[in-house]
Symmetry: C2
């Protein structure tokens, strides 16, 4: 056959692409084949992966610069526009007299529910007392996370009423699914956080399901978690259960104040509106010194202008007002500037994900948060695709890479997101955790140590030889490159022999294996009993309701 020649580099036009033939047909025989130096087979692979993943810390400290798309003048212009929005147009605080009173006392112009803010007022309030970074405590101190600065924390997706997997397709989520995803997140070394409403357990009554969700995070994981925000009472329950879980550790003996053990998602009702439900949860958590992600949730074109600069200015205005209110409630309460921006399809009105405009919004908002001096939340692995196909993956990667380069401190929706957030995907979850793992390596940057420079390796090998057997390669064998548990890099023949599976099918096998092998982190039985006690007492104190 003529085409065997095609694989010899330099022998044909196709000198560009690599075939694995390029490796095995290298000019030099593989005198010391890679496999011979280590235990072969499945166990060795798992051991290697485990060794690698254990290198992941409780959160990421980035070692690469931030990517910014605008210079200082552009960012100043957007800050100016946010101030103009706050001053001229104002923000509505609905059905919440207390918030309006706080604004009045702070010197804002309150007319009915509309609040107008003197230029710079919200920024000054936030800068005066909001921490630049803070620690969210976990019941296992090894999983405490620092949120802010050059750190990144990866958390699962949040809020889907549906789940999807290859075996069952799409169906309503149940509390069993919720527990499963908490277990996956606990097992994933690339995720640092247990998340919040990973999926909606619709088999439980709306007004009581928060108990089971919060308990699941506490019982099946020892990573930090998020609180319920759908009613101030439910926020209060989250704080009380956290108090039981942490016991003596809940309060900092030095200050007598509660440690920040909960982070919660507080969404604006864009454009320019904060409603009573969110304000109630915000105030409850702020008073308890628990962290708040203050997030304008924006489908650009519907809830903001169709432009990046308009969406960013509006996001900043809304977030500033929310974060400033939290500081008025309890100066020093940890707040995170959140931005969730998707573009609307102008043809169908459907939200789109992984498109370039939201990536630009993310880069801009990350820079604005740094200028303001607060941690930033955005991004994740967002997609509009219903299934974990190529569309889902393109869209997710087009969100996750900007998330990492732009400098998101708290990444909600890192894993599992499908269908614009309507469905939590079992396969998508483990696929995304793999991608999150890769990001650890990217964010570690370039090793410029002597070992990283590897000049001795180049000296040892010299022209025309290969590096597989050289001392440097042997020394760095275990940690040389990120190893994906899901990517298939084998030859097409081997891949076909193994069933020609796509990534989703391999992911299906992986999550089943994880569930089968899961073991819960130890929890003091007295604490467990205390939590169940609290839940049962509270649950029986009022009737079920789906409102």
């Amino acid at each position: 056959m003529p085409q065997t020649d095609q694989f010899r580099r330099g022998a044909a036009d196709d000198n560009g692409p690599p075939g694995r033939q390029d490796v095995s047909m290298d000019q030099q025989p593989l005198s010391q084949p890679v496999r011979s130096r280590r235990p072969s087979g499945r166990e060795a692979k798992i051991a290697a992966r485990t060794a690698r993943s254990h290198a992941f810390g409780p959160y990421i400290t980035r070692n690469i610069p931030y990517y910014e798309v605008l210079g200082p003048e552009g960012l100043e212009l957007l800050e100016h526009n946010a101030d103009t929005i706050l001053e001229e147009i104002g923000i509505d605080f609905r059905d919440d007299a207390e918030s309006l009173q706080l604004w009045k006392e702070a010197g804002a112009d309150v007319k009915g529910e509309r609040v107008h803010f003197p230029r710079g007022m919200c920024r000054t309030i936030v800068r005066r007392s909001a921490p630049k970074e803070f620690t969210q405590y976990a019941r296992n101190p090894a999983h405490n996370v620092v949120i802010g600065g050059n750190r990144m924390v990866f958390a699962p997706a949040y809020g889907s009423p549906f789940v999807r997997n290859l075996d069952e397709g799409r169906r309503y989520a149940r509390i069993e699914d919720f527990r499963n995803f908490v277990k996956f997140a606990y097992l994933a070394t690339s995720l640092h956080h247990s998340g919040g409403t990973i999926c909606e357990p619709v088999d439980l009554p709306v007004n009581k399901r928060h108990f089971d969700m919060v308990y699941s995070h506490m019982k099946y994981s020892d990573k930090p978690y998020m609180g319920s925000v759908t009613h101030p009472e439910r926020a209060h329950d989250t704080v009380e259960m956290t108090r039981i879980l942490f016991g003596d550790n809940f309060e900092d003996p030095a200050t007598g104040k509660p440690r920040t053990c909960i982070i919660s998602l507080i969404n604006a009702n864009s454009p320019l509106t904060w409603d009573a439900t969110m304000l109630g949860a915000l105030k409850t958590y702020a008073r308890a010194n628990q962290a708040l992600i203050v997030t304008p949730f924006i489908l650009a074109g519907a809830m903001s202008p169709v432009t990046v600069a308009g969406t960013a200015a509006q996001t900043l205005a809304e977030a500033l007002a929310g974060m400033a209110l939290a500081q008025l409630v309890n100066p020093g309460a940890p707040v995170v500037l959140g931005s969730f921006a998707s573009s609307l399809s102008m043809q169908s009105g459907a939200p789109t994900f992984g498109t370039p405009e939201p990536a630009l919004v993310l880069y801009v908002m990350a820079a604005l948060a740094r200028r303001l001096g607060v941690p930033f939340r955005s991004g994740g692995a967002l997609c509009a695709s219903k299934i974990p196909d190529a569309q889902a993956a393109y869209e997710s990667a087009n969100t996750l890479v900007p998330t990492c380069l732009g400098g998101v401190n708290f990444v909600l929706h890192t894993a599992g997101w499908l269908e614009g957030g309507l469905a939590m995907g079992y396969e998508k979850f483990v696929m995304d955790t793999d991608q999150a793992g890769m990001m650890h390596t990217l964010l570690a940057g370039v090793d410029l140590s002597e070992n990283g420079q590897a000049l001795d390796a180049i000296r040892e090998v010299g022209p025309g030889k290969h590096f597989l057997g050289c001392a440097h390669t042997q020394a760095n064998f275990q940690t040389a490159f990120y190893r994906s548990p899901l990517a298939d890099n084998n030859s097409v023949e081997q891949w076909e022999a193994e069933g020609a599976k796509d990534m989703t099918q391999r992911a299906n096998a992986l999550w089943k294996k994880q569930l089968a092998e899961y073991e819960p982190p130890p929890l003091d039985p007295a604490i467990d009993e205390g939590l169940l006690d609290y839940m049962n007492r509270r649950k029986s104190s009022f009737p079920d309701s789906n409102v």
Copy 2:
């Protein structure tokens, strides 16, 4: 059902994710539904997409900054190491006495086939005469591309012996496939270039297939193209056919020199070796003032050290030697610094793609090329996956985003790449061109004009309303957001009603539609005859061979 509540923002825990219910259940009725303002249905969609894509120019002029992972000290260290490699270890120039003689005359230390270079020598030679940027001419001047500076040119993938599509699976490529991909690239407004050996027509003899490949680029497209590099004679044929195609336009009347109408891929035989085949093509094209992409083709771990810094220093050393040689052959001949770096799987020896290490190499090499002052080639939509599944898409996006942010001037492998370059995918091709289209929007950056700031829109709409019907949205309706022809953003119900197709199935329909609708660009019949004449004469002058 309790879960209907979940879609009202602020009403339940799932306030994070958007459902399309968030749009249609917005507090304000959609008084002016989007659809009512424009012709509905399929035609309107196509018209809108066409209008949008016509906004794409013949190449991209970026409007966002470069992303760099290393500061000046780190980059200087790598330049220093490249000089150390060139000085201490040297480079082999094999079976090419002329190259060795050129190096001797230039003052290098030549021992046998090993050349050692005084520190800085190659850099000085390149900087002295290599253009910082140059125009590659197309037979249709509207498709001339500028390569270098803040420009980006997207070209198809290169060199696969196999093709894959949903209908036939994987099989050897034929000249008919080659023509099809030339047609796709011609039709793709997001691709600026016709590429080179898009796939290997293995149904034609090795020593004559270059005629049909070059002719196909000339006949079925009017975008710029690449030349044959597998033999100096084949390079010569490419130049001669180009002379026929361009006629009087081939030479610049002002200088009397040939215009640069061909760009070609010259790969090093890493580590640290240039072989006679590549050197022969390099010299032929350099003498004819045709552009050269001088590319160390590296599977890190086999052909370079396992580290990013080691791979980058070696790449720079190899490329510097190749580019400097081109300048010795013909000072001023356009050269592009190329970098192709993949990581080897340390388990199987297979190349991997879309992993973080090659992205870091890309960012570093792009910065080094800018410091040197030559255009840069790298990236694309690379993947190891055999099929266009989620793995392929994650990996491709993880390559294409760095390609754009890092600042690649000439992007080979933008579309079609599968299986580490062994297969050219029909569906993958149109999927990748969609992604390339998105990158145009990303690279256009943030519009800070008054229209981009959109303050009037926010003033008009105000708190708690929606932007769908406002004047600003109407004015920007057509161009507001990038519109993907392949992403499905519809509701799950609609998607199921349309057959629950994944992106690959939609791509299958799209490329068939494109082939059916393809019309060739006009070509002067006399020129066509001249080309066929030349080919037939040359083909009959020597026997077929598969070497």
